[in-house]
């Protein structure tokens, strides 16, 4: 953090102060499942001494945010067991608790080791005991790891609590907009400023190793694609063509970008080999072709085109150049993203004049509108495919929101100031 702060001070010292320490994003759950699993996580301590962060509180918040769990409030707990042996089952049956997570921490030369167990109360059985270890400075990572393990054991789906989200904020400062590229933990904590500019910043996208971002910045007076390393803040301008330089998307193997250039007259999709710096044009059509995104196998691109008269989603197989149309319902389907199963397509869909996020099963063709908020855009799917984040409007303010892929769970992440937009969920 110190290193990043030093680099950031180049950009804007004054803004850093309010940003450090406090998370900008908070979470408001607006809809959960009907019968969430009741889980209790008593305090996890180092033989009674509190840890630098309240680990059990972080785990409770993670699990609650998934919408599938209802954590027991700490004040209702009758005892605070730290090991399986200390569990008095009746204390938990009285509360209606279904699952219990107990754990204790040991500190050795600046590192914490947490031993934790998941217990099923009704069957009075231990489901697992595991150990996680890490530096004291990254205790939140240990908490998210525990959340991932518990979530997977109960739901059968890998957790995504250790992931991050990149997004753009637009904050009015003295009548002018200031644009910021940010990265935070997916729970909104540890927010970091990556880039600050008086000109628009757009379209952040992650590298598959989650160590870099590509994005569009107008800082040169024109849109251009940049690449930036998160740890070192080293950045490089990748494109400087006349016209559009936009919508970068990193291939699953990390070697290629798909992007949009209009240097030949109208927006076309190109691929760009990062090692050779070679551009290859992939579409040839006088219509708008934009918003490319890779299929998980890296063999095809899905993209938006208005070649049929209205914006719709198409799939381009790279080896053959063959293009097929994927969406047929509605007069506006755009900015496609695929879940990691390669089968669930999410996109912006106009339904009776309103823009919402919809999912389409590419096998059955079933289309489902997932959101009912206002001016919804920029869907981004969690790596485990359970949930997606998107941008919406609340009042006149841009905020982020989330919805599960089955539409059962919804929550808002209202920002304290400015507009928040264009979330990009990290791939790991």
């Amino acid at each position: 953090m110190k290193k990043i702060a030093a680099i950031l001070s180049l950009y804007l010292v004054t803004l850093l102060l309010p940003l450090s320490g406090v998370a900008e994003l908070t979470i408001e759950i607006t809809q959960g499942v009907d019968n969430p699993s009741r889980i209790a996580i008593p305090p996890i301590t180092q033989s009674g001494l509190s840890l630098p962060e309240d680990v059990s509180k972080i785990i409770s918040a993670d699990l609650e945010r998934s919408g599938l769990f209802s954590p027991t409030p700490r004040r209702d707990m009758l005892s605070f067991p730290a090991t399986v042996k200390e569990v008095y089952f009746r204390d938990w049956r009285i509360l209606g608790t279904e699952y219990l997570v107990v754990g204790q921490a040991v500190k050795q030369s600046g590192r914490y080791k947490i031993t934790f167990s998941l217990i099923e109360i009704h069957g009075e059985r231990k489901l697992f005991t595991k150990v996680v270890e890490g530096p004291a400075t990254q205790i939140r990572d240990l908490a998210h790891y525990i959340s991932d393990q518990v979530y997977q054991a109960v739901t059968g789906i890998p957790g995504a609590f250790s992931t991050r989200v990149a997004y753009v904020t637009a904050i009015p400062v003295n009548d002018k907009m200031t644009f910021q590229l940010m990265v935070a933990d997916v729970d909104g904590a540890r927010e970091r400023l990556l880039l600050d500019s008086k000109q628009p910043i757009m379209s952040p996208a992650w590298s598959p190793d989650a160590k870099e971002l590509v994005y569009v910045s107008f800082e040169t007076g024109r849109p251009a694609i940049f690449r930036q390393n998160l740890a070192t803040a080293a950045r490089e301008q990748l494109t400087n063509f006349r016209g559009l330089n936009g919508a970068p998307s990193w291939s699953p193997n990390g070697k290629t970008l798909a992007l949009v250039l209009s240097k030949d007259g109208n927006p076309e999709i190109y691929t760009y080999e990062l090692s050779t710096r070679k551009f290859t044009r992939r579409t040839t059509h006088f219509a708008i072709d934009t918003e490319p995104n890779w299929t998980p196998d890296g063999k095809a691109l899905i993209f938006t085109s208005d070649r049929g008269g209205t914006p719709q989603i198409y799939k381009l197989t790279i080896a053959t150049g063959r293009v097929e149309r994927l969406t047929f319902r509605g007069s506006y389907n755009a900015r496609p993203r695929l879940a990691s199963d390669g089968r669930t397509l999410v996109m912006v869909h106009r339904d009776n004049g309103s823009f919402h996020i919809a999912s389409q099963d590419l096998v059955t063709g079933d289309l489902r509108v997932l959101t009912q908020t206002y001016l919804d855009e920029s869907p981004t799917v969690a790596p485990n495919g359970a949930m997606l984040l998107y941008a919406t409007k609340k009042g006149n303010k841009g905020v982020l929101a989330a919805v599960s892929l089955d539409a059962g769970v919804k929550f808002l992440l209202p920002a304290r100031r400015g507009d928040v937009r264009e979330p990009a969920w990290s791939p790991k």
């Binding site: 008086k198 007076g221 849109p223």
Partner: protein
């Protein structure tokens, strides 16, 4: 016609002076296409070449002629007011060539990168019209801002109508 020519003559002198001062904001050079460049990090906080630098300085032949042209949703067709105004700008540019920027914009509805493409399509409509009216295309650069730089921040029909626009700069 004579007085008009005289007026343009005066303008030309004025413009030459102005443009000399503005040479660093030359907008036609894209020869660097394809290459990569390392951008000094200080440009991120100071780079304002996109909007402030050249607005209203070039081409002020007649301040009563509209420099902002409006469009329908998801459309890039110039209306009659826009064509009338562009015709006058074309006349000025033919007699007094100057580099211009056509900045295309979209309202906030729809997706951001699609709106970038739409903003460019609107800018291209204005550019094509100027070329058709005899303006040298090499003087014109089209830049799309998509929905990123709205003229009005509200989310309603009136605001959206103001935001679907091309600005001549």
């Amino acid at each position: 016609m004579k007085t008009q020519l005289l007026k343009y003559g005066v303008m030309a002198t004025f413009l030459t002076a102005l443009l000399a001062g503005c040479s660093s904001t030359d907008t036609t050079d894209t020869s660097g296409a394809g290459g990569t460049a390392t951008v000094p990090s200080n440009q991120v906080s100071t780079g304002t070449a996109g909007s402030g630098g050249i607005s209203g300085s070039s081409l002020d032949a007649d301040s009563s002629v509209a420099r902002t042209f409006y469009f329908e949703f998801d459309k890039a067709i110039l209306n009659s007011e826009a064509r009338a105004a562009l015709r006058i700008h074309a006349q000025t540019l033919r007699s007094t060539p100057a580099n211009i920027r056509l900045e295309g914009h979209a309202d906030e509805r729809g997706t951001r990168e699609y709106n970038m493409a739409l903003g460019e399509r609107r800018g291209n409509s204005a550019r094509d019209f100027l070329i058709q009216e005899g303006v040298n295309g090499a003087l014109i650069e089209v830049i799309s801002y998509g929905e990123e730089s709205p003229a009005s921040l509200d989310s309603n029909d009136a605001s959206w109508a103001l935001n679907r626009r091309v600005e001549l700069k």
